[in-house]
Symmetry: C2
Subunit: 198 residues, 2 copies
């Protein structure tokens, strides 16, 4: 005995999403059956709108409703500095600081050979073309600080060597508001390596 | 700076579902933006179909595409035995055993005063009406074995006393395939209480 087909079908569709197993899918379905019918319709509408209205900016590859995206077409931003991040959510995190005024380049991932992601699956060639065109003076590499993010940073630094640009990496060290003994050995040694004059 | 409205909207809609926080919602949205556009459309379609095609059986309150549901209208099942469960997923669990041939009654929850769920919010009155109509010889109470499920079982047993039916509770004890010392004290004492002659 199985659930009626419409329930079974929605459970299957939900289970294909990241982080949702058969149990949570079941829970969501029965939540939706109890909630007002408009909830289902709104969620369905939002899903359709997503694919209809969201596109990738052809300059930085961020997600936006217009191409080029609002950041790339903002004349007040510094076009000489490019910040390289992995994903749109990383870009949002940098934007939230309000302290970066340059442009972005989204790789849409990081080099991860074990997951079958090589340099060719990322927007690296597009980054090199952007730098080649000229106008960029500094590339700030802000990939994550895990093994794959570090490997991606090293790969990018190597690939950018042939262009007359400054390549920098964001600092790694003790996060603000944290006590020294709460940090792991690698972070602390990175903090020592990257110490600055004061 | 926030995500473009279609992304923000879908994140908000997803966050309203049980078990999905802002982080998982973001992950799902970017998964969908990477996946083929048909994935979004299929999920949206499944959501719309769910509310269009699924209804509650007016006899047992289970979810089905027809009313009465396939189980209630199955002439080969024993109409003299009713199994009372909390939710459709509990009914499915009993059905999977293949050993129960009676009918069901779904309460659609359990008595949980702390969550504001009293006997009136459940399908208890409907159960009493069903028993009152006659034809039922045994009511097997299969609510869960937590505090609320036990309270619900005791409430039901009391309410059913005025009818000439046998009221039984499913056995509690050591689950099959489990070693004694892996079980908690309450379960073990329940197993002793419910011991049977062999």
């Amino acid at each position: 005995m199985r659930y009626p087909p419409p329930i079974q079908k929605l459970i299957e569709e939900l289970t294909r999403l990241p982080g949702i197993g058969p149990r949570s899918a079941e829970r969501i379905v029965f939540h939706l059956l109890k909630a007002p019918p408009s909830d289902c319709a709104q969620l369905a509408g939002a899903l359709v709108e997503l694919r209809k209205r969201i596109l990738h900016c052809s300059v930085c590859y961020s997600v936006a409703e217009s191409d080029p995206c609002p950041i790339c077409s903002d004349k007040k931003r510094d076009p000489h500095t490019l910040c390289v991040v992995e994903r749109p959510s990383d870009m949002m995190a940098v934007e939230k600081t309000g302290s970066y005024r340059g442009l972005y380049h989204l790789l849409m991932g990081k080099i991860a050979p074990l997951d079958g992601v090589g340099p060719d699956s990322l927007r690296i060639e597009e980054l090199l073309q952007r730098v080649k065109k000229g106008g960029v003076r500094e590339v700030v590499i802000a990939t994550s600080s895990d093994v794959e993010g570090e490997a991606t940073a090293i790969y990018l630094a190597g690939a950018l060597k042939r262009f007359p640009v400054k390549v920098t990496r964001i600092a790694h060290g003790i996060p603000m508001g944290s006590s020294l003994d709460f940090n792991d050995a690698v972070t602390i040694s990175k903090a020592f390596e990257g110490r600055t004059l004061m």
